[in-house]
Amino acid sequence: MTDEVEVTVTVNGRTRQSRVEPRRLLVDYLRHDLGLTGAHIGCEQGVCGACTVLLDGRTARSCLHFAVTVDGSDIRTVEDLADFDELHPIQEMFHQKHALQCGFCTPGFLLTAVELLERTADPDEAAIREALMNNVCRCTGYANIVDAVAEAAVELRRRSSA
């Protein structure tokens, strides 16, 4: 009944082919089958955002997808953001602005910020808060995360006009 199914996805630019049980959640596939442990599991109900990845360029909760349903898709995880030892500008600003403490929520916030800044180069604070409001952080109180994203927007604009 529950035979394994073949799945081919592109993850962080690499084509990956595996056989998985249909009930394998995308987040478990990334973590256990591919060893990409950046996407975290918090609630498994879509609420906390810790498992956020970019699925075909858009944010998605990887706890709310089966690996088999995203066959053929392009997936980006937090592991793809840094360029070897150089942090992505959003990561760099999280570091500088103290936007993380335990770091559990951070991958989800980073990828949500990537989607926001790809769509809106110059978001105001309200737009940043609106974009981040569905990710839960139990440590920081959010203010530093909002600051970090605002600064990252400035830095990304500076780089694209340079």
Binding site: T2, R23, L25, V47, R58, A60, T69, A131, M133
Partner: protein, 285 residues
């Protein structure tokens, strides 16, 4: 928790979907965006034996005009309907309802038809569908039937979809450019499910209301047309007295229940407040 085991089928055409459904009957469940079904499966509140994914049926990914109707196929994601110029022009009420549905990450995957099929009492789209006189296109191996929204939504999480049927599309009444429309809701925590809300559209000619369609969500076990409130508006000048009459009618025709988020009296009061704000097009939620 993790979902119980199931077998998985991902047909590539509507024909194949309905054949698969016919083969598995009651054991099969459609998977669209998965944003309601997968949480239920993770909690093992849903344990389908056969999951039939429509995510490969690209033929169901379309938004088009057919005569006086706007038609949205079963694979159209909520985000794509929300940003569609056709939806914004032809059904502004739907375009206004969509940003309230969940959050960007769920709208990126969740479908319009999936929300209607799921029939959550707190969901915005069933109410928008009632106000836009939607018609569900139900396809099975036996053919196709069309069901108006007011017959389709039966009760909490219950529609008239029979085993073997899939919602292949939904059609909405095109709005006249002179119509006005509004969606107003209140929620306790930002963009998660609301505690209650209204979706409405209305038209006037020479200052007199000629048409009103009002539907409420979250204030009963299923989205509901507020026909008494509509009658209070049609023929009026939509002035303070008419709005007060519509608000009173709305409050007396809903039958809300209380829960941890809001009690029944609050919800009954709320439906009137939101109706008034919608009619006045106030910018508050």
């Amino acid at each position: 928790m993790k979902p119980a085991p199931f077998s998985f089928v991902a047909p590539e055409s509507l024909d194949e979907v309905v054949r698969t459904l016919a083969e598995h009957g009651d054991d099969a469940q459609i998977l669209a965006g998965g944003q309601s079904l997968v949480p239920l499966m993770n909690l093992r509140l849903a344990r389908p034996e056969v999951v039939v994914s429509i995510n490969r049926c690209h033929e169901l990914d379309y938004i088009r005009l057919v005569d006086d109707r706007l038609v949205i196929g079963a694979l159209v994601r909520q985000i794509d309907a929300e940003t569609s110029p056709l939806v914004q022009a032809e059904c502004p009420l739907l375009a206004k309802a969509l940003p309230h549905v969940g959050l960007p990450a769920t709208r990126n995957r969740g479908t319009v038809c999936g929300s209607l099929a799921h029939c959550d009492p707190l969901a915005e789209l069933p109410a928008a569908a009632l106000a836009l006189e939607a018609e569900m296109v139900l396809t099975s191996a036996a053919g196709e039937r069309r069901v108006p929204a007011h017959d389709f939504f039966v009760a909490e999480m219950t529609t008239c979809i029979e085993p073997g049927e899939v919602v292949s599309a939904v059609t909405f009444a095109r709005q006249d450019p002179s119509e006005r429309s509004a969606v107003r809701e209140v929620s306790n925590g930002g963009h998660v499910f609301p505690v209650g809300g209204v979706a409405l559209r209305w038209a006037s000619s020479d200052g007199i209301c000629t048409m009103a369609r009002i539907a409420a969500f979250g204030v009963g076990s299923v989205a509901q047309r507020l026909r008494d409130a509509e009658r209070a508006l049609v023929g009026s000048d939509v002035g303070p007295a008419a709005i007060a009459a519509a608000v009173a009618a709305a409050r007396s025709e809903v039958d809300p229940t209380g829960d941890i988020h809001a009690d029944a009296d609050y919800r009954r009061h709320l439906v009137g407040v939101l109706l008034e704000r919608g009619l006045l097009e106030e910018e508050r939620p």
